[in-house]
Amino acid sequence: MAADSYEDVVKNKETIPALEVAPQDLYHAKSFWTKYIFCQDAKVIGIQYGLTAVAIGLVGLVSSWLMRMQIAFPGLIPMDAAQYYQLVTMHGMIMVVYLLTALFLGGFGNFLIPLMVGARDMVFPYVNMVSFWVFFLAVIILAASYFVPGGPTGAGWTLYPPQAITSGTPGGDGLGIVLMLVSLAVFVIGFTMGGLNYVITVLQARTRGMTLMRLPLTVWGIFTATVLALFAFPALFVAGIMMTLDNMLGTSFFMPAIIQFGEKLTHEGGSPILFQHLFWFFGHPEVYIVALPAFGIVSDLISVHARKNIFGYRMMVWAIVIIGGLSFIVWAHHMYVAGMNPWFGFFFATTTLIIAVPTAIKVYNWVLTLWRGNIKLTLPMLFSIAFIITFVNGGLTGLFLGNVAVDVPLSDTYFVVAHFHMVMGIAPVLVILGSVYHWFPLITGRFLNERLGRIHFWVTFIGSYSIYFPMHYLGFMGVTRRYFEVFEGEAFTYSITGINQFITIAALITGAVQFLFIYNIIVSSKFGKKAGKNPWKACSLEWRTKDVPPTHGNFDKELPVVYRWAYDYSVPGADEDYITQDTPPSAVANARAEQT
């Protein structure tokens, strides 16, 4: 057919490319139920995901308070070892899977992808809606495990067998572990439905002129993370099934013959290390699943608020893709001291450190975007700066752990805890917070309160940095993680009580200020300052909708046509310091043409 019109797309001529994607026939809500509850609008689904994730996330947050209280002031809050381990486990699992994964992919993914690629909705809104409700069910199952006899599982979020399904572990011989596994399986099913939608929407439903290399990095981050998730979650799913069978039917996939408390169990010949491989084949991509969206979003925040194009866009895209690809062949760096075939250490240490190179490129490009920018220190910008610092810090400690010989003394100590909180517990969380400030005007049409926001930022950043930076040094001393109580015996050179108390107090304050943030969200959504259209003067399409906040169907009668990348800030010759993606070249005739 019209082969020349294809050339037009490539050459960025002003002619409007032919429409390849059939107009989407959206389902129109007819009642309260289909409008707000079983809604098929990706934006509403995104908000539903977000609220559910934050709600269960608060359980994780409160768990961390209780844990910290026990570590620093044992006995102040009555708790026994079993309860402590239940808190640790639920804290870890909730934070990683049910909060961050669901918030980034389900929440931000649903809200932003269709808007940013210029689509009316996800490609299969119905499936998308089901996806949320399945996720919701997973959360309910997870929450139910608090109420069964024996309580939730206390197996550690890594759920290593045999310990996870034996009676020496809280919840191990009751329903706790079963509900956890079922909940995860349900989560995977629900996520797959949503994830397929995000992937196909990005690949097959972009608006005219929107090539992959014109996508905002936010979309690239979420998209790649989703692809990772689609290929990594199967490992968790299968491992979960097999562990459930080991537990319920007495099969021996992961269970060798063991004798526990003098009683011989009937299992025979299974391999506990197999589970660890499966778990980390999922687990390592998983940590990038929560990191890549943060990478993408923060790139956009920095670019918008520094009024400068993101530096090295193409490198950024390739870095995301390469990190995603490599993340499937580094998993066993979590198992250096797990008793696997020792020769794997060489292979996995090498791949692990290789992955630092594309990550480094991303860091360089963020700071180089600041270079010669015109930096507005708005709240999203502040959070982005904080992100860079914490991420670099955490990433660099990752290099300690990735280097196999160095991991030997540090593994299973608080150094690891500090590493992953720095790089996962605060860096992406800071991005989430920043992006809420950034996109709140789009979601509600109002700004969040600036004063409260500043307080929130300062306390969160300084607080969380002072929680985790000192924690590394506990790790150097050899303080082991997952200890209900550390007896200060011969092992340590110096008392750790003081530092632990300091950390706990910092954690309490940092956690508490999040409630200020939530208060801010609630109040500002009603009484905040009106924002108007495109208050940050951003280029990307989500700000170019007919109404703000965008309504069902997102755009006006015609979908926008895209003529440039999403980073045309401060283009020489242009009147304004930004040119939106849908501005045709003729409208900004004097401006230098787009480069990429």
């Binding site: 045999p162 810090n393 003394p409 299973d412 150097f476 109580e485």
Partner: protein
């Protein structure tokens, strides 16, 4: 320009904290100085990168702060700069990795002269087994474990009879002799970890893992279980005593061999079977 100050404080504060922190590793008591050295090297390289990035960022935030009538520079990419940085980073990575891999190679290859001890972990305590006079540990099986045979030794294994069984949380080892630890678990994962020795390895039920080291200082060291193993994980402690030969021998002599254990339980028939096997050899 509060933010610039903040960034500076965070960066420099981290460095200062690092220098004055009293929380630091205990003095090393094994041959794994290479691990410490690699950590120090990593500290230098990553520390330099951390400070450099932090300072650069602080400078940018200060220098390029928002001015109404100014425009940012328009520079989509600069491949020369990007490639230079990439190559520098790669060099940095190689500098970290190479020594690390060498140390790891030492760690997984046990030297010829090493003697062996088996460490057994179970919820929530330790047991040890020495190979006895023949220098070989007998084979085991979970199925053999009962009150008379807590280690699950195979009675039809001729090497098992002289194995020395230590059913206690404390272990004595020899100073300056390379030692290979065979690690075995009876129920769930554990991890035999002494901070001063630096080395650690999980013990996995259903298989045997190992590591080796040479203790270089006599003394008393605390054992921590480093792999989560259930409710009692935090209390799974013990002591290692690094001894000179004399004290070590005294300790060994106090312990019972498998043969003695069997005899004291009146299982002389089993001893007979084992001895016959031995004679067959």
């Amino acid at each position: 320009m509060f933010v610039v100050l903040l960034v500076l404080i965070v960066i420099l504060g981290s460095v200062v904290f690092h220098m004055v922190s009293p929380w630091w590793w205990s003095e090393i008591a094994s041959n794994w100085v290479g691990m410490d050295d690699t950590i120090i090297l990593t500290f230098w390289i990553t520390g330099a990168v951390f400070v450099a990035i932090g300072l650069f960022m602080a400078y940018c935030i200060w220098k390029f702060r928002y001015q109404k009538d100014k425009r940012a520079e328009y520079e989509p990419e600069n491949s020369k700069l990007e490639w230079t940085l990439t190559i520098l980073t790669t060099i940095g990575v190689i500098a970290l990795l190479a020594p690390g891999l060498i140390v790891w190679n030492n760690f997984v290859t046990v030297p010829k002269g090493a003697y062996e001890i088996e460490v057994v972990g179970q919820q929530w305590g330790w047991m040890y087994r020495l190979p006895g006079k023949d220098g070989v540990l007998g084979t085991t099986s979970i199925k053999n474990i009962d009150d008379d045979n807590p280690f699950g030794l195979n009675t039809d294994d001729p090497y098992s009879l002289d194995d020395v069984l230590v059913d206690a949380d404390d272990l004595h080892i020899l100073v300056d002799r390379p030692l290979k630890l065979n690690l075995r678990a009876l129920d769930v994962l554990h991890d035999f970890y002494v901070p001063q020795f630096r080395a650690k390895m999980d013990m996995v039920p259903g298989t045997i893992t190992y590591y080796w080291f040479t203790p270089i200082k006599t003394g008393e060291y605390e054992i921590l279980c480093a792999e989560y193993c259930g409710t009692g994980h935090y209390a799974m402690l013990g002591y290692v005593y690094v001894d000179e030969q004399k004290e070590y021998d005294e300790w060994v002599n106090e312990q019972m061999t498998f043969e003695e254990v069997l005899a004291s339980n009146g299982k002389s028939d089993l001893i007979k079977i084992a001895l016959n096997k031995k004679n067959d050899l």
